[in-house]
């Protein structure tokens, strides 16, 4: 792995105005309060922000400053290591504005429209939260999220996210490598795959109450163990330097940037280590459309969507932000070796 030292000209994302301050600018302008007060009130240390103009930001909701789910989160977010520049953990591409990242979501537990998750998840409880670890591991059990996060140092990763629906975003996540978590529980030699489950709680997730849903809940996803141990595989607990909003998968979600977005499962409550390939929700629903691997691949088309192009969001009506899709979403240099000798058209 490339270790990059900071050069003088590098702008740390922590040196850029946090969105929370940016969005509360009107408050302190209107109230005549000092900037220092504004900073003290928001409490977020740092992190990345789109360099785009006000027009893009104007779409974001005004009230983005999220309060910590509980006090220990604040301590955890007090220091976040910036993403190493120049390598695969970061990108110079323009970030998708926060407002779009938190309002345009596929999270069917909260509804099937893109705007449903933000509309229906306002009261979603993420504290206390526990994650069950089971299967082929030496340390199975039910762990509090606080205990899971305790040994992890949070870092930022700026990844491309490519949805199978042909849109894409660039998102600054906060979290830690999945491999570090897996090592914590000591999988045994039979652990060939890792399966993840989203919370099943129809009282909080209206999509799970719908009689018309074709998904069998809970939502589940999986990775091969070598994919899961790859340095790019990431568990996010934050976005834009801020606590993860429910619609983005709070309190903890997977981010696997070289696979289609649906692999990056949200609001994880269970991780199971298995010897055989585990069930994944989309391939259970439509096996001819979705496989286990779901690697971004411009040459293997989904029956309803060509995959050689994508629309980078946000886009305006009269200017296309279409761009060619790259194999493994541009992370081929890092991950192609995981699939050497495999027919990717067969293992889609």
């Amino acid at each position: 792995m490339l270790i990059k030292f900071r050069s003088k000209s590098d702008v740390l994302s922590s040196e850029i105005t946090p969105e929370s301050i940016y969005y509360s600018r009107r408050n302190f302008l209107a109230g005549g309060a000092g900037l220092a007060l504004g900073v003290a009130a928001t409490g977020f240390p740092n992190l990345a922000l789109s360099a785009d103009g006000d027009a893009l930001r104007a779409r974001a909701p005004e009230d983005i400053a999220r309060s910590a789910p509980s006090p220990w989160w604040e301590a955890k977010f007090a220091s976040i290591n910036p993403a190493a520049r120049g390598g695969p953990f970061s990108t110079d591409e323009t970030l998708t504005p926060y407002g779009d990242v938190v309002s345009y979501n596929n999270f069917y537990e909260f509804g099937v429209e893109k705007g449903d998750p933000i509309a229906n998840s306002g009261r979603f409880e993420v504290d206390p939260w526990s994650v069950t670890i089971e299967g082929e591991v030496d340390k199975p059990g039910i762990y509090n999220l606080e205990d899971i996060l305790k040994p992890q140092a949070l870092e930022e990763r700026i990844y491309r996210l490519r949805c199978v629906e042909r849109w894409s975003m660039v998102i600054p996540w906060v979290g830690f490598p999945l491999a570090d978590l897996i090592k914590q529980f000591q999988p045994n030699s039979k652990a060939k795959f890792v399966q993840f489950f989203t919370l099943f709680d129809p009282s909080q997730m209206p999509g799970q109450r719908s009689r018309f849903s074709t998904i069998s809940w809970p939502y589940r996803e999986g990775l091969r163990i070598d994919e899961a141990m790859h340095p790019l595989s990431f568990l996010a607990v934050g976005v834009y330097g801020n606590y993860l909003p429910p619609q983005n998968g709070a309190p903890i979600r997977l981010v696997v940037p070289w696979k289609y977005g649906f692999k990056s499962i949200k609001s994880i409550v269970k991780i199971r280590f298995t010897e055989t390939e585990p069930e994944t929700s989309w391939s259970m629903l439509a096996p001819e459309e979705y496989g286990f691997y779901a690697n971004v691949n411009p040459e293997v088309h989904h029956p309803r969507w060509r995959q050689d192009m994508e629309t980078r969001l946000p886009q305006s009506l009269f200017g296309s932000s279409r761009m060619p899709t790259e194999i493994f979403n541009g992370y081929g240099e890092q991950v192609a070796s995981l699939y050497s000798g495999m027919d990717l058209a067969k293992f889609y």
Partner: protein
């Protein structure tokens, strides 16, 4: 010939039909269509094309069941507005989603069944709209009513098109189908059992 619609009802109907278009225009100017406005526009125009098509098919059963002769002209009005929104829908698809890349349009039509049935439905609506001026209706005579039975085919194809796009929830398709099935059933029942005058061969 149906009774003349009272101007007030006609006016209300036009306002009702044009309102979604106005709201779409407002959303465009306010830039409130979200991060993927082209996709959102395609969804909204398509939904209204389908809704007005279903409203159009409901007119005759409601008119007969409730003896509301004066709503008869709404059938033509709703049908033409359905066509209007389907034109917008196709325009959004070709201009904003595919930026006039005609090769891709052709590929979609050939390879993606949901596009194929959508186009078929649109073609039917186009023919029906072209044959809807009163002079053409008069010239076609009885053949006009046989031709315009294709509207049922257009509705079924449009519903199939919508159903194919939605991946995880059949709620909306089911709602449309729940309306459409009795409407179609009513017409079939009339044709085969009741044999109303004008259709009967005996």
């Amino acid at each position: 010939m149906a009774a003349i619609l009272r101007p007030s009802l006609r006016l209300v109907a036009h306002l009702f039909c044009i309102a979604p278009f106005v709201l779409i225009l407002v959303a465009i100017f306010r830039n409130s269509l979200g991060p993927d406005p082209a996709d959102e526009l395609a969804v909204r125009t398509g939904e209204w094309a389908l809704k007005f098509l279903i409203f159009c098919l409901c007119v005759t059963p409601i008119r007969r069941l409730f003896v509301l002769q004066r709503i008869a002209p709404l059938r033509r009005l709703f049908g033409l507005y359905s066509f209007f929104y389907s034109v917008l829908h196709c325009f959004v698809y070709v201009a904003f989603l595919l930026q006039f890349r005609w090769m891709e349009v052709m590929e979609d039509v050939a390879e993606r069944p949901y596009i194929t049935v959508g186009l078929a439905s649109f073609c039917i609506l186009l023919v029906l709209a072209l044959t809807s001026p009163r002079s053409v209706v008069r010239r076609l005579g009885r053949r006009w009513s046989s031709l315009h039975k294709l509207v049922y085919v257009a509705a079924v194809l449009a519903l199939l098109h919508q159903f194919w796009i939605v991946r995880v929830s059949i709620a909306e398709s089911a709602l449309y189908a729940i309306i459409l099935i009795p409407v179609l059933g009513y017409r079939l029942w009339q044709k085969f059992v009741n044999s109303p005058s004008g259709y009967s061969k005996t």
